[in-house]
């Protein structure tokens, strides 16, 4: 089937209440409803999710691999941005 009629969609599944939607893969579908149905059939067959989002791949603006250095490198040498200079009080588990 032609991809013009069935464009690509990205699928995000939330595995449980209180967690985030996580990207699980992509699929082809003619429209949003069918994309959601296909996502249900392809990615939640084994009880993986409680919620699904589908987004047209063309609608996602992504950072380019070539820009990796200018985008992400500068934060590598700024340790003060990371909370590494504190001593964690005893008894605090989730920090």
């Amino acid at each position: 089937m032609s991809t013009a009629l069935t464009p690509l969609w990205e699928v995000f599944v939330r595995p449980a209440r209180g967690t985030n939607h996580v990207h699980v893969g992509s699929l082809h579908a003619a429209d949003a409803t069918l994309a959601l149905q296909n996502a249900r059939d392809l990615y939640t067959r084994r009880n993986e999710g409680v919620s699904i989002w589908v987004v047209r791949s063309a609608d996602i603006t992504a950072s380019s691999p070539e820009e990796k250095d200018s985008f992400f490198e500068p934060s590598a040498d700024k340790p003060y941005r990371h909370p590494t200079f504190y001593t964690i009080p005893e008894g605090v588990e989730h920090l």
């Binding site: 089937m1 069935t6 699929l27 579908a29 409803t33 249900r40 067959r45």
Partner: protein, 255 residues
């Protein structure tokens, strides 16, 4: 399936088997689409529906067979064509994708009405099977109606094909609502609904979807029946040959 008591009577057993046969045979037909569906996504969707139906068939046949000491495999693989009591609708050949979707819409809408009613059956086992299956079937309805809307109200070609599919499949829908002796007895026992009583709600749902899909409801002239009595369409023998071949060649085969 969990161990449970056998059906209370031969009637209840026979009723469970006919519902099980519907699910088994349609499941097999849908499985024939594997690796042949128009898209890989739809391939998996059809296989999912086939597996839902197979699960229902296993529960129903196991329960129905326990009355006469037959296993689900005995019933599925070792009966002859005339001993199957499924609706002819369930065995209709897949044809085009439109035929398969029309068949699915008509059957799933019926099954949804049926199972919703069976949830309050006096037979605890049938009620339990129906309660589990009704959620699956609600999705089958959703899936089929989504496609019918897009095929019917799509291009001129898809509309014509779907209308032609509807004309071909529609006559077989009447058998779902035919009250035969066993169906009446089951209704008297409070075990299941009278088939004819399910039709108004079914027609309301189906008509709504078909109208929205710009399809025309065919006339109710020809009403073939016989599936419940073991009379089947020409293609059914070929279906059984494929479905039963492995088990009959290698009895008790497992993998």
């Amino acid at each position: 399936m969990t161990q449970s008591s056998a059906p209370a009577s031969a009637e209840v057993a026979g009723y469970a088997i006919r519902l099980g046969d519907d699910a088994l045979i349609l499941s097999h037909r849908l499985s024939e689409w594997s690796a042949h569906a128009p898209q890989i996504e739809e391939d998996i969707a059809l296989a999912n529906i086939a597996l839902d139906l197979l699960g229902q068939a296993r529960s129903l046949l196991t329960y129905g067979g326990s009355f006469s000491g037959r296993s689900e495999d005995d019933l599925a693989y070792l009966r002859e064509e005339r001993q199957f009591t499924n609706l002819q609708l369930a065995e209709l050949e897949n044809g085009t994708f439109a035929v398969t979707m029309v068949r699915q819409l008509l059957f799933s809408c019926y099954q949804h009405e049926l199972y919703r009613d069976l949830e309050s059956s006096r037979d605890a086992q049938l009620a339990a099977i129906a309660a589990k299956a009704v959620k699956e079937v609600a999705y089958h309805v959703e899936h089929a109606s989504t496609w019918i809307l897009r095929l019917g109200d799509g291009t001129e070609l898809s509309h014509d094909r779907t209308q032609a599919a509807l004309e071909g499949v529609w006559p077989y829908s009447h058998e779902m609502f035919a009250d035969d002796e066993l169906a009446r007895r089951i209704a008297d026992l409070g075990v299941g609904p009278l088939p004819s009583g399910l039709r108004p709600a079914w027609l309301g749902t189906v008509q709504g979807i078909l109208t929205e899909a710009t399809l025309t409801l065919p006339d109710d002239d020809w009403k073939p029946t016989g599936g419940r009595a073991g009379l089947h369409t020409e293609g059914f023998g070929y279906l059984l040959a494929e479905m039963q071949h492995l088990h009959r060649s290698h009895p008790g085969a497992r993998w």
